[in-house]
């Protein structure tokens, strides 16, 4: 009997020892069950014959201890120097790579796991952005700006775990799947003219990397909803319930990002875990509860904000599925330094000693006391370190609702950490024929940039990676590359350490320029220029609104040697706080330039039909007149004419005109008055016709 059972349960052998022990019982169950199961056939649903599998129950119980899928939610709030507030949502799901990966999931979104499985994605990042990140006022030297500041529109890059020749096919399929999943036109990235394969200047360098952007993609709620669908709690509970659509999209900057990675969490694990990182970065303007008195000092005061005033909602408890659910409030280095200065000033007047964590201070007030204060660890003691207050949702004493408010008491001015060089890109030249792209890098001031002593300045070199994709219809001449450092022309060989160029191919691939610039550390400004010709597109290739111009995607400028990381003094359980631990990762500073708008010559799109019509008419005229000439009898016509004299009104008119022509030479000499009166009559007639025409057609 056991032999036969095994035939029907061949898979049982795969379960292991536990299953084989239960086999005799299983056999017994199969034989004994069905008679007891004879039930009334009236009850419409069924619980009949399948009880025979009861014996498997014991097999279900014995299971391997396995790594669970995990989900965390975090929100970071940060006041910005220009009276705005940054809110950075961070959701992370982790799934172990089991044999059921892509088929059976508990927390991890099945759709994403299936994508990873189907296209063998090793790494992927997809971002939808509206607005432009202001590196100068919102920061360009911190982990958030280097990872979450994205170019407008859609940006997608992916690294595939497939043989090199299959990467393009995987990319194309992936774009289609994603566009279906996120209700966006990501499928336009399928065409080989829109994506490129960076090799040098993009961060995770790999042969299997593909990169593409759609600068003109409009981002709205229909993209956010599928993004939220990937979260186990969606926007029903937890931190994500703050995402009130009108208040998010009212913001100055909005970037929704999805990042897939494979991380080996334990060293002994055979497979790496899939980590899905979903972030939403918004910059909001607090509505500012205006105080009644409006004297000058109050006007300088930053607006007071709270979560409910920013988002119009409060956090009603944590997402029940999240392993951790935290809100952070971050104060920048400069703000902390300013506080300390203020504190020193106050000390003169009253001797209230302020504690180091600045929870009580003269400048602002926080409504809820943080659970934990994290201090940044700095190498140098001269600067003051930034502070991060941690609130754990659900653990705090206040019942369920959490509404953090931040009240400014005295005006404070501070500035954020700026990127080492400010980059901007612009077009030079005029006309629809040619132009020049210029990328200019400017130092942010004497004190910013690198902390290098004067002695090192001579030898020290600042490497800068520039990655620029140019569509094929902008025909860039790479030999015209010019580099200016401190407004002095430099030879390309001196200034460029490495360069990788793949020229564009018409209607096949875009032009890609990757270069590593080596700039001296004390550089004030550096500019590179490239000349280009504007190409012509086929009539089918123009987008619907061609007169608007064509976008050149943002250039990416990376500073590989400068890392925007924040190290915290409390080493403790940072492992369970993915946002803070991601701050400690080595992220090179990344800077996206503006999107350029290049006007191209746009044709009149009704042209082909006009051309056809005109050509045909000319041909018809030619043909008709040729035929007429061929069959014309000149002598006979004359004879007829002479014989008949005036007959029809038309021929009479012709004859009259002819006669007047014959007379004309004489009349002009004889009577100028007659000539002038006739001429005036004619002119008046023509004018009348013209007026009529104008009136009728107009």
């Amino acid at each position: 009997m056991p032999k036969e059972i095994l035939e029907y349960w061949p898979h049982l052998s795969a379960i292991g020892v536990g299953a084989s022990v239960t086999l005799p019982g299983l056999g017994g169950d199969i034989h004994g069950q069905y008679i007891n199961m004879s039930l009334d056939p009236i009850d419409w649903p069924m619980n009949g014959p399948f009880s025979s599998t009861l014996g498997i129950r014991s097999a279900l119980n014995c299971g391997l201890s396995k790594v669970e899928e995990k989900f965390t939610e975090e929100l970071l709030l940060k006041p910005l120097p220009d009276r705005k507030v940054l809110a950075h949502f961070h959701f992370e799901s982790t799934a172990p790579r089991t044999q059921y990966y892509g088929r059976h999931h508990h927390l991890f979104p099945k759709a994403i796991a299936q994508l990873v499985q189907k296209f063998s994605i090793r790494e992927m990042e997809l971002s939808f952005t509206q607005g432009r990140w202001e590196y100068e006022s919102w920061g360009g030297y911190d982990p958030i700006s280097s990872s979450s500041a994205k170019p407008p529109g859609v940006e997608l890059w992916a690294v595939f775990d497939v043989p090199v020749d299959q990467v393009d096919a995987s990319w194309k399929n992936l774009t289609h799947s994603l566009s279906g999943l996120f209700c966006a036109s990501i499928n336009f990235l399928e065409s080989s003219t829109t994506y490129s394969a960076p090799e040098l200047a993009f961060h995770p360098a790999s042969v299997n990397l593909r990169y593409g952007t759609l600068p003109r993609e409009a981002v709205c709620t229909e993209n956010l909803t599928p993004w939220l669908k990937l979260l186990p709690c969606r926007d029903k509970s937890g931190i994500s319930s703050l995402l009130d659509r009108p208040s998010i999209y009212r913001g100055f900057y909005h970037s929704q990002r999805l990042r897939l990675r494979h991380v080996k969490i334990r060293a002994d694990a055979p497979d790496s875990d899939t980590v899905l990182e979903q972030t939403l970065t918004v910059v909001l303007q607090p509505n500012g509860i205006r105080s009644k008195e409006s004297h000058s000092s109050k006007r300088k005061l930053h607006p007071t904000w709270s979560m409910s005033s920013l988002f119009g909602r409060k956090i009603e408890g944590r997402c029940a599925l999240a392993k951790s659910s935290n809100v952070y409030l971050q104060l920048e280095r400069d703000l902390v330094a300013e506080m300390k200065r203020l504190k020193e000033k106050r000390k003169i007047f009253d001797i209230s000693v302020l504690n180091e964590d600045l929870i009580e201070n003269p400048a602002f007030e926080i409504s809820i006391k943080p659970d934990l204060v994290l201090r940044e660890v700095l190498s140098s003691q001269t600067e003051s370190s930034s502070l991060t207050y941690e609130y754990s949702i659900g653990k705090s004493a206040s019942p369920n609702t959490f509404d953090l408010s931040f009240t400014w008491k005295s005006p404070v001015a501070w500035s954020c950490r700026k990127p080492p060089l400010r980059a901007s890109r612009f077009l030079m030249g005029s006309g629809n024929e040619r132009g020049t792209i210029a990328i200019s890098l400017r130092s942010m001031g004497p004190d910013e940039g690198l902390n290098v002593s004067d002695m090192d300045k001579e030898r020290c070199v600042l490497p800068v990676n520039i990655f620029q994709v140019v569509p094929w219809y902008i025909k860039v001449y790479f030999h015209t590359l010019k580099v200016f450092i401190d407004e002095k022309p430099m030879s390309v060989l001196d200034a460029v350490e490495k360069i990788h160029i793949s020229p564009s191919e018409d209607k096949v691939s875009p032009g890609v320029m990757e270069m590593v610039l080596k700039l001296p550390c004390g550089v004030k400004s550096a500019t590179i220029t490239l000349e280009f010709d504007k190409g012509f597109l086929h009539i089918d290739e123009y987008p619907p609104d061609a007169n608007q111009g064509f976008d050149i995607p943002s250039a990416i400028i990376t500073f590989p040697n400068i890392e925007a990381s924040i190290y915290f003094d409390q080493e403790i359980t940072l492992k369970d706080l993915p946002l803070l631990s991601s701050f400690q990762e080595k992220n090179p500073i990344r800077y996206y330039t503006e999107v350029l708008l290049v006007p191209l010559t746009t044709p009149d799109f009704s042209m082909p039909y006009n051309v056809i019509t005109i050509t045909c008419t000319v041909f018809a005229l030619y043909f008709g007149s040729l035929l007429n000439v061929l069959r014309r009898r000149v002598s006979e016509e004359e004879r007829l004419h002479n014989a008949k004299g005036k007959s029809g009104p038309l021929s009479r008119l012709i004859a009259k005109l002819r006669r007047s022509k014959e007379i004309q030479p004489q009349s002009t000499t004889t009577s100028s008055s007659l000539f002038s009166s006739k001429l005036i009559l004619k002119i008046i007639m023509v004018a009348a016709i013209a007026i009529c025409w104008q009136y009728l057609s107009g």
Binding site: Y8, W9, H11, L12, A14, I15, A19, I30, H31, Y34, I35, L39, P41, D43, P45, M46, N47, G48, P49, F50, S52, T53, L54, L60, N61, Q99, G102, R103, H104, H105, H106, P109, K110, Q114, L115, K118, S177, K229, P232, C233, S237, G317, R318, C319, A320, L321, G394, N400, Y609, T613, T615, C616, T617, F619, A620, L621, F623, L627, L630, R631
Partner: protein
């Protein structure tokens, strides 16, 4: 010289009567007429060339074959040959006449029981019956059974044993005699002094044990043959063929979902991978002949139902009734439909376990007669099934905010799985009772570990083959209608190929069906359907880039309209003039002739 003077005289005479308006002396020239006419003719000749040059490519489609296929399918539904054999054990020896009488009576009863209308995918019009009497002393057989049963073998089977054992032993004895192609369904009647017991095995046989007369046995046998083996054990004569939940590409994705209505109250999880491994995989293997099935599962949260339920004091539970079922599935919040695996035209069958929130727990389904449903679940044809599973004790622990994830106990999971299986069977059009109640009495149905017994699978594959061929022929005929209605639509070569292959596969399926090879017929019919759908949904057909006649006219009319006007007018004028001049000349000729004479 006299002649010349005469002629000049004549001339002068004629000159007098000559009117240049009505007469002419010379023959009218045909030069210009020939010219204009030649231009006109070359124009007319040029038209076919132009027509040819602006023609679009259309792959030739076998319209006639498509029509004949659809005609065949509608007028003459697919029929499979089935063979039935009845083996009587312990009835003593019979003469050949008695045997043939018995066979005739079984055959007659079966014909009476099958519906008059020949249904697609059944074997109601093409079956054969053979009867064998197997007694200790003699063995008589009647009927054309090529795989003859070897007499005496059945005695080794101990009918007192457990039904499962009997079933397996019978399979061992009879299985050897099954030929590869046509499957024989067998009923064994064992005559002994006992209560009558009828059992239908999980292979292709049933047995009747007990003191039973031949006539009664014949009645029971014919009922088992027609109702069970032919119609899959469905009491009603409904044919579910059209509702076979298989995708056009022959794939099914079984998507299992665990829906936690409100995770703030409780969170339940399951070990679905185990279920798949231990219980689902044999089912999928068994159904492999019908469809290519893949399984996936997920757990969803914050998924309230969208219908209402009311509290019932008597039962101590929340009740929702059958009338609420259409509103139960909350398609706004239940994100069941995300599967990359189900690419294209696969069918997704959703199976959902709904765990109610604390304020509606326990939640029970009330069937129309007022009772509570035993399974607490329901199906929606072609969509899937839903089970409501209420947690064991409907109390939430309020102390901790962070919910621990609880597992559904394996006993409950087992029950859920059983209901799922029953729902799957219902979706395929099979009942799930383990009793068969006929007019002549009930019979016990043995269950298979695979979820589907072999005779059920036979029934399903017959149905499947039929429904596939049906949908293939409708798809192809609507494609041919579409193609014929749009004469200027481009048809790629690939579409022509697909249609051709589809027709070939359909033909193969038909021939397999006539030979009684169910599984192979189902396979070819699946291929035929999928190819037909591929052709119909070919991207080039979907695009609107067909070159319409209006478009063509708009492009060419600026040239051809004025030119043809010129040419035709010129030809007409010349022709008119030629006729006019000719009459002039003729009048002159007659006049001069008159003068001459």
């Amino acid at each position: 010289m006299a002649e010349t003077s005469e002629i000049s005289e004549q001339k002068a005479e004629l000159e007098k009567g000559f009117d240049p308006n009505t007469m002419r002396k010379t023959k009218p020239g045909v030069k210009r007429l020939a010219l204009t006419l030649s231009v006109l003719f070359s124009f007319l000749l040029g038209f076919p060339f132009l027509w040819k040059s602006i023609e679009i490519y259309r792959a030739p489609l076998p319209f006639k074959d498509i029509d004949s296929l659809s005609e065949r399918i509608t007028s003459n539904p697919l029929q499979f040959p089935c063979g039935f054999q009845a083996i009587f054990v312990g009835f003593g020896s019979k003469t050949y006449e008695e045997l043939s009488r018995l066979e005739y009576s079984i055959f007659n009863r079966m014909t009476g029981l099958t519906s008059k209308r020949t249904q697609c995918g059944s074997c109601s019009s093409n079956f054969s019956v053979s009867v064998t009497f197997d007694s200790d002393s003699s063995c008589t057989q009647k009927g054309h059974n090529p795989a003859s049963y070897h007499c005496g073998e059945i005695k080794n089977v101990d009918f007192n044993a457990d039904d499962e054992v009997v079933d397996d032993e019978l399979e061992f004895v009879l299985g050897r005699s099954y030929s590869k192609g046509k499957k024989w369904y067998t009923v064994i009647v064992v005559n002994r002094d006992k209560m009558i017991k009828v059992a239908i095995g999980k292979y292709r046989h049933a047995w009747i044990v007990g003191s039973v007369s031949e006539e009664e046995a014949a009645l029971r046998i014919s009922e088992i043959f027609t109702k069970v083996f032919m119609n899959g054990g469905n009491e009603e004569d409904v044919i579910h063929g059209e509702f076979m939940p298989v995708g056009a590409d022959g794939k099914i994705v079984l998507s299992f979902n665990l829906l936690n209505a409100d995770p703030q109250d409780w969170i339940y999880d399951w070990d679905f991978d185990r279920i798949e491994e231990t219980m689902l995989s044999p089912v999928l293997e068994a159904l492999g002949h019908i469809a290519n099935i893949s399984v996936e599962s997920q757990v969803l949260y914050h998924t309230p139902k969208s219908s209402f339920s009311h509290w019932d004091d008597e039962r101590g539970a929340h009740i929702f009734s059958v009338g609420d079922l259409p509103f139960f599935v909350n398609s706004n919040e239940w994100h069941l439909d995300t599967s990359v695996a189900a690419g294209g035209r696969s069918k997704i069958l959703h199976f959902a376990v709904y765990i109610p929130s604390a304020k509606e727990c326990p939640l029970l389904l009330q069937v129309p007669d007022g009772d509570i449903s035993e399974t607490n679940g329901f199906i929606s044809p072609m969509w899937g099934g839903i089970i409501v599973w209420s947690p064991p004790n409907c109390s939430r622990d309020t102390e901790s905010n962070y919910q621990t994830r609880r597992k559904i106990s394996s006993h409950d999971l087992q029950m859920i799985y059983e209901v799922f299986m029953g729902q799957l069977r219902q979706l395929f059009g099979l009942t799930s009772h383990n009793l068969f109640i006929g007019r002549s009495g009930g019979a016990i149905k043995l269950a298979s570990e695979k979820g589907f017994t072999e005779w059920e699978l036979d029934f399903l594959s017959r149905q499947h083959a039929c429904s596939n061929l049906h949908s293939c022929s409708t798809t192809l005929s609507s494609l041919s209608r579409l193609v014929q209605s749009l004469p200027r639509m481009i048809i790629m070569e690939e579409i022509g190929k697909q249609v051709e292959f589809s027709l070939e596969a359909a033909k193969q399926a038909e021939s397999d069906a006539s030979l009684g090879i169910f599984y192979s017929s189902a396979g070819s019919s699946r291929q035929a359907r999928s190819l037909a759908e591929d052709a119909f949904f070919h991207p080039s057909i979907m695009s609107v880039s067909y070159y319409s006649f209006e478009h063509c006219f708009a492009v060419y009319s600026p040239f051809f309209l004025p030119v043809s006007l010129h040419v035709i007018l010129a030809a007409l004028r010349e022709w008119k003039r030629y006729k006019q001049e000719k009459t002039k000349y003729l009048t002159w000729v007659t006049k001069s002739n008159a003068a001459a004479s």
